[in-house]
């Protein structure tokens, strides 16, 4: 038998399999279409948050404060400083975005991992594969830890490597390439 004969014989498989492969989607997967909306949704949420934050500082958001809240002059001055919107977005994003990953395969820039547990972000789903890139300014101790972890994953067999779990905090996520840009990483117990 040759690969060509096998390929040609595929023409004789049942039509229901052909139809299924044309029309069906994978369970729990919605194709890439949803991914197009993730960045837009994130930007929308961040802009809304930033607008609400600015509104509170300019007085239009007074009603959002409880009556017994008192701001010091210094605090008000700090809050009313027109800081770059990107900084506000990044700060709030960094605070929110942590996830526990299983280290699967080491790469030059970090490793390929699988989402193990969601911590405080809903943009992933458990079992999703992600490429992790350790940022240049990632904490030195964390980079070292990560290196040890990925080495362990490489040396151990597949079953053992699955037990290497890490908590990562990331600065950004590119849904097109499933890439996480990680600022902080630490090993966690399974």
């Amino acid at each position: 038998m040759s690969g060509r004969e096998l390929f040609e014989s595929m023409s004789y498989v049942d039509e229901r399999f052909v139809a299924e492969a044309e029309s069906a989607s994978l369970p729990g997967k919605t194709g890439l279409s949803w991914r197009k909306w993730v960045p837009a949704a994130c930007v929308g949420i961040l802009l809304f948050g930033a607008a609400a934050y600015q509104g509170m500082n300019t007085g239009s958001g007074e009603s959002l404060r409880s009556e017994d809240q008192v701001y010091s002059t210094e605090e008000v001055e700090t809050q009313t400083e027109p800081g770059p919107q990107e900084e506000i977005q990044m700060e709030s994003f960094q605070k929110a975005a942590s996830v526990i990953l299983r280290v699967d395969t080491p790469t030059e820039e970090g490793f390929v991992g699988t989402v193990w547990e969601l911590v405080d972000t809903e943009i992933f789903h458990v079992g999703m594969e992600v490429n992790v890139v350790l940022a240049e300014d990632c904490l030195a101790v964390s980079r070292e830890n990560a290196s040890i972890m990925t080495d362990q994953a490489e040396q151990k067999d597949c079953e053992t490597a699955q037990s290497v779990l890490v908590l990562v905090r990331f600065s950004s996520f590119d849904p097109e390439s499933n890439t996480l840009y990680v600022m902080f990483i630490s090993e966690v117990e399974e």
Partner: protein, 184 residues
């Protein structure tokens, strides 16, 4: 137009059947033929032949899955037109696909030799035994000749996952064919 209406046009020998089929499925059939032949002109010819063969086949046939029925004819027609030597020179995708399937071929010392049609029946049993996700990915790759990137985009999974799943399925197929004692 619904598939049942299209089939009714063929049964009524109404020539609109072909133009309506082209409107409904022409683009997808052309993409399929083009992936195999990598020539727009040859692909268009294959799709035209597909319509003629469909016209000559319905009636008496009344397919349950009309697109699959068309695609099957289109795939066979395109493979019939394919110049394998020329495709090998061009390093066409279809050649790399057959190369991947070569890895599923059991030891040649085994005795049982099958015709393509009978091998198709064995493949049916194999596909039936697969988990749905593996089956879909395998079919997209080796039936529709989709690239890894296209499968990844279609199902919203990473390319590495597609490759891993295909690798495992090929290994299973090899074991399955060995189990059947097959050599073509």
């Amino acid at each position: 137009m619904e598939d049942s209406e299209l089939i009714a046009l063929y049964w009524a020998r109404d020539e609109r059947a072909i133009s309506e089929t082209d409107a409904a499925y022409g683009r997808r059939l052309l993409a399929l033929a083009d992936r195999i032949l990598q020539s727009r002109e040859d692909a268009e010819e294959s799709v035209s032949d597909t319509y003629m063969k469909t016209w000559n086949t319905i009636p008496p046939q009344r397919p349950n899955h009309f697109f699959a029925f068309l695609a099957k004819i289109c795939r066979n027609t395109a493979l019939g037109c394919l110049d394998w030597k020329n495709a090998a020179k061009r390093s066409a995708e279809v050649v790399s696909l057959t190369g991947e399937l070569e890895l599923c071929v059991p030891d040649r010392s085994q005795e049982r030799k099958l015709e393509s049609r009978e091998l198709g029946r064995v493949l049916n049993a194999f596909l039936e035994s697969l988990p749905r996700e593996s089956r879909l990915i395998f079919m997209r790759r080796y039936w529709y000749a989709d690239s890894i990137a296209e499968i990844s985009a279609r199902y919203g999974i990473s390319e590495s996952k597609v490759k891993t799943r295909l690798h495992r399925t090929r290994r299973k197929l090899r074991g399955f064919l060995e189990g059947e004692g097959i050599c073509v």
